[in-house]
């Protein structure tokens, strides 16, 4: 509403064509900007195979905005979330992001899912000096080649996630086979497992088999996987590919001879799969609701989500949505404004706790140092409720030792 009024003012001023009037009008406009809401652009793939994850991200991001506003906003200035469907398409995401910046005058962009889409968003934000908090996994976004001064990566990255799972599961003498989706995510996760295996030592990667993204039938990939007689099979794919490949691998008896592990055990895919298919599968996660028994901020986040969603609990990718938006709003409040430079300075090296315990935004590459949960999917009989899907086997606390060094990433140190 206030925006339309401003536009109207500007048009009146221009229509008048009196330069003398323009100066006070601009001052007036600057004064009005302080009352305008802080707009946060939120591109996310509402339609498409990651729709379930995306919708939960929106729900959670909205909670962060509501909490910020309820606490008085930024000296009374309220925040507003502008959600846009990026359709899981890099071109669409870039267009929507550009619109958010140029037409909606957002203060920052948070969001997008899938590595290729977030890199497309990053290209746009980087070129315009716009603040961007990415909340989906990528290794390259913090590497020197893709890094931007205004780019922050709140999500885990494949190196941390696959590394944590490997450190928990891999033992010297083990034979490991990797099945990966043939695109950025799968390749980065596989590389994460490879690096971790080399660091542990004595772990042999006996097979790396790629499958096309979006494969519906995995039967043809399984005979070779069986023939190398692995102790562990790492399945590196996302979304529906994960549910499908795990189910079929179990059907074809892979779990009779090997353990299946995944870098990211997805809450929504376990719901879409079944307890039988996922039973015993081990994987990493950024968040799982039951950590509320030991992490106070998780309890507060879950309670807010429950209150807003009829007692349901947030998903892993939902927590990213909350965390990313809350992180940037907190930094704005501390900076006392939305100026990009000031907010960037606040975020670099920032210690914070949004919903999963302490995190630190590493100054040199803008990667959030944070914990990785190691989860195991429960048997049906062991589930106490419909949301009781996983056991938390371990929590690897955030540590710079588990990240690649900034020198490795190509940053000048």
């Amino acid at each position: 509403m206030s925006r339309t009024l401003t536009d109207l003012d500007r048009r009146t001023v221009l229509g008048g064509g009196l330069a003398a009037l323009a100066a006070p009008a601009l001052l007036l406009r600057a004064a009005r900007a302080a009352d305008e809401p802080i707009r946060i652009g939120f591109p996310t793939p509402l339609t498409g195979p990651f729709g379930a994850e995306a919708k939960d991200q929106v729900r959670c991001a909205q909670i962060a905005v509501d909490q910020f506003n309820a606490a008085g906003g930024l000296n009374g200035r309220k925040a507003e979330l502008l959600v846009r469907d990026d359709k899981l398409n890099p071109g669409e995401a870039a267009t929507r992001t550009l619109e958010l910046i140029e037409q909606d005058h957002v203060a920052c962009i948070v969001g997008s899912l899938s590595s290729s889409v977030q890199l497309a968003v990053n290209e746009v934000t980087k070129a315009r000096g716009m603040l961007y908090v990415s909340i989906s996994q990528s290794d390259t976004i913090t590497e020197a080649s893709d890094f931007g001064r205004t780019t922050f990566h709140e999500a885990l990255n494949p190196h941390m996630t696959a590394g944590a799972v490997a450190r928990h599961v891999f033992k010297p003498g083990m034979k490991v086979a990797i099945l990966l989706a043939d695109y950025a995510y799968g390749n980065e996760m596989a590389a994460g497992f490879r690096r971790a295996a080399a660091a542990i030592g004595g772990v042999e990667i006996v097979l790396e088999q790629k499958h096309p993204f979006g494969t519906a039938d995995y039967s043809t990939f399984l005979p070779r996987l069986r023939s190398v007689k692995p102790d562990v099979v790492c399945i590196c794919n996302f979304g529906r590919d994960q549910a499908n490949s795990i189910k079929q691998a179990v059907d074809f008896g892979i779990t009779r001879q090997a353990r299946i592990v995944v870098p990211v055990l997805l809450y929504n895919q376990r719901l879409a799969g079944s307890p039988e298919a996922f039973e015993g599968i081990v994987g990493g996660a950024n968040y799982y609701w039951t950590i509320e028994d030991r992490v106070p901020s998780a309890k507060a986040f879950n309670d807010a989500y429950r209150a807003a969603n009829n007692g349901a609990v947030p998903s892993d990718y939902g927590a990213y949505g909350y965390s990313g938006v809350r992180l940037v709003l907190e930094a704005m409040r501390r900076a006392g404004g939305v100026g990009t430079d000031a907010v960037v300075r606040e975020l670099e090296g920032y210690h914070y706790d949004t919903c999963k315990g302490p995190e630190t935004m590493r100054a040199c590459d803008h990667q959030a140092i944070q914990s990785v949960l190691i989860l195991q999917s429960k048997a049906k009989a062991a589930m106490k409720s419909a949301a009781d899907l996983f056991d938390v086997l371990a929590i690897e606390e955030g540590s710079e030792a588990n990240l690649r060094s900034c020198a490795d990433l190509g940053h000048k140190t």
Binding site: P49, Q209, T215, P223, R226, S227, D251, F252, G253, A272
Partner: protein, 291 residues
């Protein structure tokens, strides 16, 4: 070692081929007999899986669902033919093509509204869970063997219907020359109505049978529509035998590609289709453009 693996891979390919045959039969029947390119095939397939989810939740009995779903979605197909397709006969093939294309979107959207956009789980029926050790061929899921058997039975029944019954004779005659058939006093509209219902029922049956192997979600029919087209085009539009052989061939090609060039396995079926179209544009067993 490698020889063993190739044997297993061939067997897996044939098994996958049977699934492809199952997926494409409904499409092939409707095209072969009606000349209608049914772009809603994938959507009927998906609707079948969801109808199965619904029946299973209602009755808890997979076998009851297996009997009820093809009838239910087949009946839906009858309604679609009578109300939407029939007015378009004689207007050129692009009319029903565009109509079914749109219908597919409508069905997907209805399912999204009723069941949500997320996938839903579908358990393998208890009787067929687990697997069987096939010696040198390794451990194979019992359910997949069941699907292969069902596919064989369906093909046999279809062949008996089309080649050995009076009704099949009418259907085949209708595909060749509907005008003469009308002159002979046969209600051709009724034949087409039933053929369309049969095709959609088969699509739904395929969706239900695929549900325990692949996950159930509103977009599950998209890839299947493409796969079914590839198989139908390779086999020759409207040829039952051609479809069966093409399905097996596609299964084997995909499987062997997965062994040597796994990331190319999806592309391989399109490469095969291109090759067949270059050498035999009417497909392996196609009669050419009869109509």
């Amino acid at each position: 070692m490698e020889i063993d693996l190739i044997a297993v891979q061939l067997f897996t390919g044939v098994a996958l081929g049977a699934v492809f045959v199952l997926l494409s039969t409904g499409l092939s029947i409707i095209f072969g007999m009606l000349g209608v390119v049914n772009f809603a095939h994938g959507a009927f397939y998906m609707t079948g899986a969801y109808a199965g989810v619904f029946f299973l939740a209602l009755t808890g009995n997979f076998w009851l669902a297996l009997a009820a779903v093809p009838l239910l979605i087949g009946a839906l197909g009858l309604g679609v033919e009578r109300l939407l397709i029939r007015p378009l006969y004689g207007r050129g093939p692009d009319y029903p093509l565009l109509l079914t294309f749109g219908l597919g979107y409508v069905l997907v959207e209805i399912v999204r509204i009723l069941f949500g956009t997320d996938g839903v789980p579908f358990e393998t029926p208890a009787l067929l869970s687990g697997g069987i050790d096939l010696g040198g061929l390794g451990y194979f899921p019992a359910y997949r063997l069941f699907v292969i058997a069902v596919t064989a039975v369906i093909l046999l029944l279809l062949w008996l219907l089309l080649a050995r019954t009076r009704y099949g004779l009418i259907i085949r005659a209708g595909a060749r020359d509907p005008e003469i058939l009308s002159i002979l006093g046969i209600d051709i509209a009724r034949v087409w109505l039933l053929v369309f219902g049969l095709g959609t029922g088969l699509a739904a049956l395929a969706g239900l049978l695929a549900a325990p192997m692949r996950s159930v979600n509103p977009e599950m029919g998209v890839a299947v529509l493409v796969e079914a087209f590839v198989v139908t085009v390779i086999g020759g539009m409207g040829s039952l035998l051609g479809g069966a052989i093409a399905g097996m061939l596609v299964g084997i090609v995909v499987s062997l590609t997965a062994l040597w060039m796994p990331e190319m396995s999806t592309i391989s079926m399109f490469a095969l289709m291109t090759l067949v179209l270059l050498i035999r544009p009417q497909g392996l067993f196609g009669r050419g453009l009869a109509r």
